[in-house]
């Protein structure tokens, strides 16, 4: 490894400063160096000791939690899934690198999560060029135009997903496939209920024996991954708990009032993209409120919107719309909560 460090040390001057030959490519060089070696920077100001958790580890934990989804997707749908992930990483990665170069900034780790989530929420038959278009749109309009990681308002993966849903409705809503099957166009549990009021058995929903987006059908694995994230405190438990709790309560009330429109709570919980959305996308700290009460409000509103869109709109699934709609309200929720919380401080200070 010493030889590798020597190599980096040798070529670093070429990428740094004003005179470096390839100074424009500095972000690329940095990302390679810092993935392998810890930065050599030392603390300047107190405190002189720092916690070992950095964003690389933080995002790495999210990827680790998504492993059950990724592995099950590859198992269910074969090497095609790997190709989709690779396309998503390559195209989105190029966009991210280009913007890092233009901004003379760094390449941020958040991209590794976005680039993984996006293919996982696509139908298994999505053509590879559509994956490329979607991730490009998501990264560009969902994140980079707002200024990159930490400043984006919407979840970039969801922006891409909504774009391809609206741009290519046929490919995104009709071309479903069962795991291990060759035949295209089987219906997802959500559409089966919507069209025929058929409830898929819970065992199939948990084990992933249904049609649906590649990463979100193995609900047992998502549940494990989501709980892992909450235990490691990478994701805040308040959002998934309030989101899923609201869906359960709201659909329980709805199912008793109009059972032909609104599916029973446990089915709502286990079918479609709800678990994946609640565990991995609504919890994105950048696009969710930072106030504690705001998190509950955010989750509850997401839950109500999800049940409403699922039951009363032309769309079969409402998770992605609900999260993106609430993303837009995030700053507003925080402002309202803060103005109530800090009334007292304002008087005393």
């Amino acid at each position: 490894m010493k030889f590798l460090l020597a190599l980096f040390d040798k070529y670093r001057p070429e990428f740094e400063g004003k005179k470096g030959k390839y100074k424009a490519l500095k972000p690329l060089f940095e990302v390679m160096e810092y993935v392998i070696f810890y930065p050599s920077a030392r603390v300047q100001y107190a405190p002189h000791v720092r916690d070992p958790l950095d964003l690389k580890r933080f995002m790495g934990m999210v990827l680790l939690a998504m492993m059950p989804c990724i592995l099950s997707a590859v198992y269910f749908f074969g090497p095609r899934v790997v190709a989709m992930i690779l396309v998503s990483y390559t195209v989105g990665g190029i966009c991210e690198v280009l913007f890092a170069i233009i901004r003379k900034g760094e390449i941020h780790e958040g991209f590794f999560v976005t680039g993984m989530i996006f293919p996982l929420i696509l139908p298994p038959t999505t053509p590879l060029w559509m994956v490329a278009v979607g991730i490009l749109f998501g990264v560009f309009f969902g994140k980079e135009v707002f200024g990159g990681t930490g400043r984006n308002i919407f979840n970039p993966a969801l922006v891409g997903r909504i774009f391809v849903t609206i741009a290519f409705p046929a490919a995104m809503t009709t071309q479903w496939k069962m795991p291990f099957a060759d035949a295209v166009s089987s219906a997802t549990p959500m559409s089966l209920f919507k069209m025929q009021q058929v409830l898929t058995p819970y065992k199939d929903l948990i084990m992933g024996n249904t049609a649906g987006s590649i990463g979100e059908i193995f609900h047992g694995g998502i549940l494990i991954g989501g709980i892992f994230l909450m235990i490691t405190s990478v994701s805040n438990w308040r959002i998934p708990v309030s989101y899923l709790g609201t869906v359960l309560i709201f659909s329980w009330i709805g199912a008793t009032l109009s059972p032909e429109k609104i599916a029973p709570p446990l089915f709502q919980f286990l079918a479609g993209g709800l678990l994946f959305g609640a565990m991995f996308m609504a919890t994105d700290p950048v696009t969710a409120p930072f106030t504690r009460i705001g998190k509950y409000i955010f989750g509850a509103c997401c839950g109500i919107l999800t049940v409403l869109i699922r039951s009363y709109s032309g769309y079969v699934e409402g998770v992605m719309f609900s999260i993106v709609i609430m993303n837009a309200f995030t700053p507003f929720i925080d402002q309202v909560v803060l103005s109530f919380q800090y009334k007292q401080v304002q008087v005393t200070s």
Partner: protein, 453 residues
């Protein structure tokens, strides 16, 4: 009381309860500055002969708090290094000062009550006190509303209660009685961490003997020993108009006893020397101005280490030109400089790492101490609002929100969200996943806010 936040950094190199008394130094370097004070008014000319306990300089901005000569000898003033040197000082006799001579004309006219206050200030005990609202030196002639005595230091590493109070329990009790008398018979709140060993049991006995001591149970978690945090939790910030709240620690109580019972100048300090970069970790009793090089020699190893004045979280690195122990130093913490770059650090299971979050396997292990270095352990990134800083903050602030307001220079808003309640404990910067210098940004914001007002 509802304690929220706080976090114990499990740093390696905890000082033992042993107290080492190194030989008296051959030369004394007294820095003309310390954490809160700058002694700009020099009271002695260059080359003057001074006696033990003589005031050499004072800080006009802080009620003329004096800098005392720890031993008799001839002074040499080094303006460039901002220090006073005493060559070949005589070993201190440890005698009492003739307090009548030491006090100024004005002090003599004051009654016995005022005389006690003057003695505290003159003999160097007053500088152990702080105003629990601001952290600054309180007015020595003011009347407090209450006194908070924080018995234990919870930061890694400052002197331990067991070491400080070894054989000094009677002095501690007398010191408390003096503080009670000086404050005008006000309630003394004694903050003591839950649990604790021998000293804690003896202190609880003292509490039982005096009705004016109000015990305050605090969790053994940094920084709930901080008097500013305690004052707020006790609800004192809303009663400002009743007068200030004084705060002090065990060292302060012992200094008050020394000054008021035996009229001796407080020029000797028991400090801790420890940290992951120290060869051994213990307490040392030395005079102020003790040469740092001599003091640290037995503790430094071949690995270069940063010497921090105070604890690893709130202390600052000792400047290169500081030669001797300053008048406010509580402890020296040695943190080794990061030299080796870890390979694929983010993918390590982390059995030997401590984290605020549960993202490393070290959190599943039974308690252990980690050998931290000065590495920043990550790259600077924009804030992602993970809110770990909010979870760690003992003052219930939202550092992630505040630092954004300060960076955008919106100080009025930052103040509205409690910028000035920050006590600089450093936990926000410690836990930040994006490695933002939140503590430093908030400190600069506070200073800027005060200037603009």
């Amino acid at each position: 009381m509802n304690f929220k936040g706080g976090y114990n950094v499990s740093l390696d190199g905890k000082p033992s309860d042993e107290i080492n008394r190194p030989p008296f130094p051959k030369v004394i370097y007294l820095p003309l500055f310390s954490k809160r004070f700058t002694f700009t008014d020099l009271l002695v000319p260059d080359g003057a002969a001074v006696f033990e306990g003589q005031a050499l300089a004072k800080d006009p901005a802080n009620f003329s708090v004096p800098l005392l000569a720890p031993a008799s000898g001839t002074v040499k003033i080094d303006r460039e290094r901002r220090s006073i040197t005493i060559d070949n000082p005589q070993s201190p006799a440890g005698g009492a000062l003739k307090i009548e001579e030491a006090l100024s004309e004005g002090a003599k006219k004051a009654g016995p009550e005022g005389r006690r206050r003057h003695a505290l200030l003159r003999l160097g005990a007053w500088q152990y006190f702080s105003d629990a609202a601001t952290g600054k030196l309180p007015d020595p002639f003011g009347t407090p509303h209450a006194v908070i005595v924080s018995v234990s230091h919870l930061e890694p590493f400052l002197p331990g209660t067991e070491a400080l109070l070894k054989d000094r329990m009677p002095q501690f009790e007398k010191g408390l009685e003096h503080i009670h008398a000086v404050s005008g018979n006000k309630t003394v709140y004694l903050a003591l961490p839950r649990g604790g060993a021998k000293a804690a049991i003896q202190i609880r006995d003292i509490v039982k003997r005096h009705s004016w001591i109000q015990p305050v149970d605090i969790p053994a978690k940094y920084p709930f020993d901080n008097v500013r945090v305690l004052a707020r939790l006790l609800g004192f910030d809303k009663k400002q108009n009743n007068g200030p709240v004084w705060g002090c620690s065990t060292e302060g109580v012992l200094a008050v006893d020394l000054a008021l019972r035996s009229s001796k100048p407080c020029v000797s300090r028991t400090i801790s020397v420890g940290g992951p970069g120290a060869k051994k970790a213990e307490h040392v009793e030395v005079c102020t101005g003790y040469p740092l090089a001599d003091l640290l020699k037995p503790y430094q190893s071949s690995v270069p280490a940063r010497i921090i004045n105070g604890g690893a979280l709130s202390g600052d690195a000792i400047p290169a030109d500081q030669m001797g122990l300053d008048a406010e130093c509580l402890g020296l913490t040695l943190v080794p400089e990061q030299e080796k770059r870890e390979i694929l650090a983010f993918a390590h299971p982390g059995f030997s790492k401590h984290a605020f979050s549960n993202t490393f396997l070290g959190n599943l292990r039974p308690p252990f101490r980690e050998r931290y270095t000065t590495g920043i352990r990550g790259e600077h990134r924009p804030c992602i609002s993970c809110c770990f800083c909010e979870a760690a903050c003992p003052s219930r602030l939202m550092p992630h929100l505040l630092h954004k307001y300060v960076e955008k220079n919106r100080l009025e808003e930052a103040d509205r969200f409690g910028l000035n309640l920050c006590v600089q404990c450093g936990l926000c910067s410690h836990v930040c996943t994006s490695k933002i210098e939140i503590k430093q940004i908030l400190l600069e914001g506070q200073q800027k806010f005060l200037q603009e007002r």
